[in-house]
C-alpha cells in the first residue's frame, strides 16, 4: 500500500445520534477512517460497539430513526450521506456491494440462486440475457461452487450454509464493485466453512484489487485476513493501525483487554485427572448410546432418517471436564439432551453411578433430575421473562421439597457466588445483560447441588470479554465443587481452555477422543486435523502478546 494512492473511500468525523431513551447519546461518534484500494480493513468490536453502523451508513441502510448528524463519507468526490436515493441505488451493487451475516435470510427462498445472481445484473441495466446467463455460470465457478450448471437451478434451502454464502458473494461480485462490505459474513458458519469463505474473500480481494471492509467480533478472523484494523468500543474508535500493530502491539487498554479475553490454549493447565479416579465407579458412563431422528412416514414418502447419536461410549469422572466438540449437525447437542433425558434414546445405556437411567420413565426419573443439571445456550430464552430471579432460582429446590427460607438463603449465597448483587433476587430477567443472565443460569443449575453439569454452548452467545469471565467462573466452580462437567461447544479454542478431555464428534459419531494436547498437537483423525487447521488466527498467539505487554510494563 503506497501512501501516494488516494483512498477509495474516506469516512470523516461521522456521528450518528441515537434517539432518546438509549444508554448513550450516539450510536457512533466522530468516526474517521480511510479505505485504500486493495486492502482488507477489519472493524472489530463487541456487540453494541457500533461496528456495523458505518458499514450500514455507507450502504444507506440505516433505519429511519438513526440519522447521521455530522461528518461525511467521501467516495470519488461525492458525499454518500447527502446523495439522493436514485444515485445511491445506482452505486449499490455496481460500486459498493455487501455480504450479510445470515446467508439464508439474505436470499429469497422463492427464487433459484441463479435467478438471484442474474437479477443483480438485470436491475443494473444489463439487458442481454445470454450474456447474463454466461456471467452467472462464470461467477458461480469463480466462488468455488461445484457444478454451476446444475446448481444455478437450485433453491437456497437446498444449499449448505457455506454454499449459500458463496452465492451471496457471487451476487456481490456480479458487477465488479470496487468496495466490498462484509458484515460478520462467517459468524453463522462452521469453522471449516468459515476458513473456506475467509480464503475465498481474501483470494477475490487480491485478484480484483478491491477494498474490503470486514466487520467482525473475532480477533482470530482479524489475524487471518486483515491488512489494517479498527477497534471500536461504545461507538468510538479506540485504536486504529495495521493488523500487526493492533494485534501484536495493542496500545489501548480496551484492545489489550479484548485480546487477553480471546480464548486460547493454556499450556500449563493440568490434564486428564480422570486417571487418578480410574478404578472407582465413574460418575457417568455411556454405553453404545444411539439416537435417530425420524420424520413421520407419509403416504407416498419414505421417512427421513437422521442418525444424531451413533454408538457413543463415554466415561465421565468426578472433577473432570469433558469437552464435546463438533460442527453444526454433529449431534453434540442431541447427546447432551439425551443424557438429560430431554430426549429419549433409542438404545444403549446411560449409567449414572452405575445405574442405568435410560429406561426410566419421566415420572420416575424426576426425583433424580436434581443431580444432573444443565446450563443452556441462549441467556435470553432460558429465563422465564415473567418470573423474578428469586422465583427462577428457588423453583428448583421447592419442586424437590426444600422449604422456602432455606431455598431463599441458598439463592442469595449463590447469587453472591456467581458475582451478582443480592438485589437481583427481586428483579426480572430483562433488567440484566447477557453475561449476567448466564450467571443466573449457572446459579440455577447449582441450586440443586448437582453431581453433573452439562453446559450446552453456554458461552457462544456472549462477547469475548464476557465469555472469558463466565468461563473463569465455570472453572472456579469446577475446581471447588469437583463436579463432572460436560462442556458442549463448537469452538475448539474454548474447549481447549476449559476441558481435561475432548471428544470430537462428526455426524453423530465420536471420531477422536483425548486430552487437549493430543487433539491440538497430534490429532490422529483426518477430520480433527481439518478442524484444527480451520481455527481462525492460529498463527497468532494472543497469550504471547499479553505476556509481552506484562513484561514491558514491569
Amino acid at each position: 500500500m503506497s501512501d501516494t494512492k488516494a483512498p477509495l473511500l474516506s469516512v470523516k468525523n461521522l456521528t450518528i445520534a441515537l434517539p432518546e431513551g438509549f444508554d448513550r447519546a450516539h450510536a457512533i461518534q466522530d468516526i474517521s477512517y480511510d479505505l485504500n484500494p486493495g486492502e482488507v480493513l477489519c472493524v472489530v468490536g463487541e456487540s453494541g460497539s457500533g461496528k456495523s453502523m458505518t458499514a450500514n451508513a455507507i450502504m444507506g441502510l440505516l433505519p429511519d430513526y438513526l440519522k447521521p448528524t455530522r461528518g461525511s463519507i467521501d467516495y470519488h468526490g461525492r458525499d454518500l450521506l447527502s446523495l439522493p436515493e436514485e444515485e445511491k441505488r445506482a452505486l449499490r451493487g455496481r460500486d459498493i456491494a455487501m455480504v450479510f451475516q445470515e446467508p439464508l435470510s439474505a436470499l429469497n427462498p422463492l427464487m433459484t440462486v441463479g435467478e438471484q445472481i442474474d437479477e443483480v445484473m438485470l436491475v443494473h441495466g444489463n439487458t442481454n440475457a445470454a450474456a447474463r446467463a454466461a456471467r452467472v455460470l462464470e461467477l458461480m465457478e469463480y466462488v468455488g461452487l461445484p457444478d454451476p450448471a446444475t446448481l444455478r437451478n437450485a433453491y437456497p434451502f437446498r444449499l449448505s450454509g457455506g454454499q449459500r454464502q458463496r452465492i451471496v458473494i457471487a451476487m456481490a461480485l456480479a458487477l465488479e464493485p470496487s468496495i466490498l462490505i462484509a458484515d460478520e459474513p462467517t459468524t453463522a458458519l462452521d469453522v471449516t466453512t468459515q476458513a473456506q469463505i475467509l480464503a475465498l474473500i481474501k483470494r477475490i480481494q487480491r485478484a480484483k484489487g478491491m477494498g474490503v471492509i470486514f466487520v467482525t467480533h473475532d480477533f482470530g478472523v482479524v489475524a487471518d485476513i486483515a491488512d489494517r484494523a479498527i477497534v471500536m468500543e461504545k461507538g468510538l474508535i479506540v485504536e486504529q493501525g495495521t493488523a500487526d500493530q493492533v494485534l501484536n502491539h495493542p496500545k489501548h487498554p480496551y484492545t489489550q483487554r479484548l485480546i487477553a479475553a480471546v480464548p486460547h490454549r493454556e499450556t500449563e493447565r493440568k490434564e486428564s485427572n480422570g486417571v487418578e479416579a480410574a478404578d472407582e465407579v465413574p460418575l457417568l458412563e455411556l454405553r453404545n448410546l444411539n439416537k435417530t431422528y425420524r420424520s413421520s412416514e407419509g403416504l407416498f414418502s419414505k421417512p427421513r432418517v437422521v442418525p444424531a447419536v451413533q454408538d457413543i461410549n463415554l466415561v465421565l469422572h468426578r472433577g473432570q471436564t469433558l469437552g464435546v466438540v463438533g460442527e453444526s449437525g454433529s449431534g453434540k447437542s442431541t447427546l447432551g439432551r439425551v443424557i438429560m433425558k430431554l430426549l429419549d434414546s433409542d438404545s444403549g445405556q446411560i449409567l449414572y453411578h452405575g445405574m442405568d437411567i435410560a429406561p426410566l420413565s419421566q415420572a420416575s426419573f424426576r426425583p433424580m433430575r436434581k443431580k444432573i443439571q444443565m446450563i443452556f445456550q441462549d441467556p435470553f430464552a432460558s429465563l422465564n421473562p415473567r418470573q423474578t430471579i428469586g422465583r427462577i432460582l428457588t423453583d428448583g429446590p421447592l419442586a424437590n421439597g426444600v422449604d422456602k427460607t432455606t431455598a431463599r438463603k441458598r439463592a442469595e449465597e449463590l447469587l453472591a457466588r456467581v458475582g451478582l448483587d443480592a438485589s437481583a433476587y427481586v428483579r426480572y430477567p430483562h433488567e440484566f445483560s447477557g453475561g449476567q443472565r448466564q450467571r443466573i443460569g449457572i446459579a440455577r443449575a447449582l441450586m440443586l447441588d448437582p453431581d453433573i453439569l452439562i453446559a450446552d454452548e453456554s458461552v457462544s452467545a456472549l462477547d469475548v470479554s464476557v465469555q472469558e469471565q463466565v468461563l473463569r467462573l465455570l472453572r472456579d466452580i469446577q475446581d471447588q465443587l469437583k463436579l463432572g462437567m460436560i462442556f458442549i461447544t463448537h469452538d475448539l479454542r474454548i474447549a481447549a481452555q476449559i476441558c481435561d478431555q475432548i471428544v470430537v464428534m462428526r455426524r453423530g459419531e465420536v471420531v477422536e477422543m483425548g486430552p487437549p494436547s493430543q487433539i491440538f498437537d497430534a490429532p490422529q483423525n483426518e477430520y480433527t486435523q481439518r478442524l484444527i487447521e480451520a481455527i481462525p488466527g492460529k498463527e497468532w498467539h494472543p497469550e504471547q502478546v499479553i505476556r509481552d505487554l506484562h513484561k514491558e510494563s514491569i
Binding site: L342, R369, Q377
Partner: protein
C-alpha cells in the same frame, strides 16, 4: 403503569372504553332510571321519539318504553357476553394447554374432539342447543360458550407448542418441576397476552350471537334484550323505524366499543406491533 400509559395513547381504544363505560353505567343504573318491568305497557303505542317527553326514544306497538328496553337489555347483553366468554376461555385454555404441552396421542385426541365442534356451523349449533334446553340465561350462555371455545383451544395450543420448545421450559423440566406445574407457572403466564386479546373480541361476538338468538325468539323470556326488541320490530319496519333502529344502534355501539378496546389491548401487548404508527 406502562400498560395504562400506552393504552391511553390509543385514541380508538380510549373512545371504546368510554362507550363501554357508558353502557355498563346504563346497565347498572337501569332499575333506577327506568324502575319497573320493561315489558309493561306504560304509554300510548307507537309514539315517535321525542313526541312525548316521557318517552325519549318512543314506544313500541304495545306501548312499551324503547329507552327502558335498551337500558335493561344492556345488562343481558353484557352479562351473557362476558360470562359465556369466560366459560369458553376456561374450556379452550384447558384443552389447548394440555394438547399443546403433552403433544402426541393426547394432542391428536383433543384436536379431533375440537374439530368435531368446528365442523358444525356455529350459529346453527347454538340455535339447536338453546332449542333443546328451553331458552333461559344459563342455556344461552352455555350454548354460546360451547360454540366459541374451539378457536381459543387452537390459539392456546399453538402458543404452547412454540413456548414448550423454549429453553426456560426445558430448564423447568430439568429442575424437576411436574407437568401441570410447568403449564400453570411457566408457560401460561407467557401466553396470557394473546388469550386476553382474543377473549376481548369474543365478548363482542357473543353479544352478537345472543342478539341473533333473541331475534329468532330464542331469548330468555324474563329478560329484555336488544335482539328481542329488533325481532319484535321486524313487522313494523316501515311504520315505526325507531323500534328497530335504537336497539340496533345499541348493539353496534357495544360491539364497536369492545372491538376498539380489543384492538387497543392487542397493540399494547403485542411487542411486534408496538410503534408501528411511527
Amino acid at each position: 403503569m406502562q400498560f395504562i400509559k400506552r393504552f391511553s395513547q390509543n385514541y380508538g381504544a380510549v373512545l371504546g372504553l368510554i362507550i363501554l363505560a357508558a353502557i355498563v353505567f346504563l346497565a347498572v343504573a337501569a332499575p333506577l332510571l327506568y324502575p319497573g318491568n320493561p315489558w309493561k305497557t306504560v304509554g300510548m303505542p307507537l309514539l315517535r321519539p321525542l313526541q312525548d317527553a316521557k318517552f325519549l326514544l318512543g314506544t313500541d306497538m304495545l306501548g312499551r318504553d324503547i329507552a327502558a328496553g335498551i337500558a335493561h337489555g344492556a345488562k343481558v347483553s353484557l352479562l351473557i357476553g362476558v360470562v359465556s366468554t369466560l366459560v369458553a376461555v376456561l374450556i379452550g385454555v384447558t384443552i389447548g394447554a394440555v394438547a399443546g404441552f403433552y403433544g402426541g396421542r393426547v394432542d391428536d385426541i383433543l384436536m379431533r374432539f375440537t374439530e368435531f365442534f368446528q365442523i358444525i356451523p356455529t350459529f346453527a349449533m347454538a340455535v339447536v342447543l338453546v332449542a333443546i334446553f328451553s331458552p333461559n340465561f344459563i342455556s344461552i350462555t352455555l350454548a354460546i360458550a360451547v360454540v366459541s371455545w374451539p378457536s381459543v383451544a387452537r390459539l392456546v395450543r399453538a402458543e404452547f407448542l412454540s413456548l414448550r420448545q423454549r429453553e426456560f421450559v426445558q430448564a423447568a423440566v430439568v429442575i424437576g418441576q411436574s407437568g401441570p406445574r410447568i403449564i400453570l407457572t411457566q408457560i401460561l403466564p407467557n401466553a396470557v397476552s394473546p388469550i386476553i386479546v382474543t377473549a376481548s373480541l369474543m365478548v363482542a361476538t357473543a353479544i352478537l350471537t345472543e342478539s341473533a338468538l333473541s331475534f329468532l325468539g330464542l331469548g330468555d323470556r324474563n329478560m329484555m334484550s336488544w335482539g328481542f326488541m329488533i325481532g319484535a320490530a321486524r313487522t313494523m319496519l316501515r311504520e315505526a323505524w325507531w323500534m328497530s333502529f335504537f336497539p340496533g344502534f345499541a348493539i353496534l355501539l357495544a360491539v364497536l366499543a369492545i372491538n376498539l378496546i380489543g384492538e387497543g389491548i392487542n397493540d399494547v401487548m403485542n411487542p411486534h406491533l408496538r410503534g408501528r404508527k411511527q
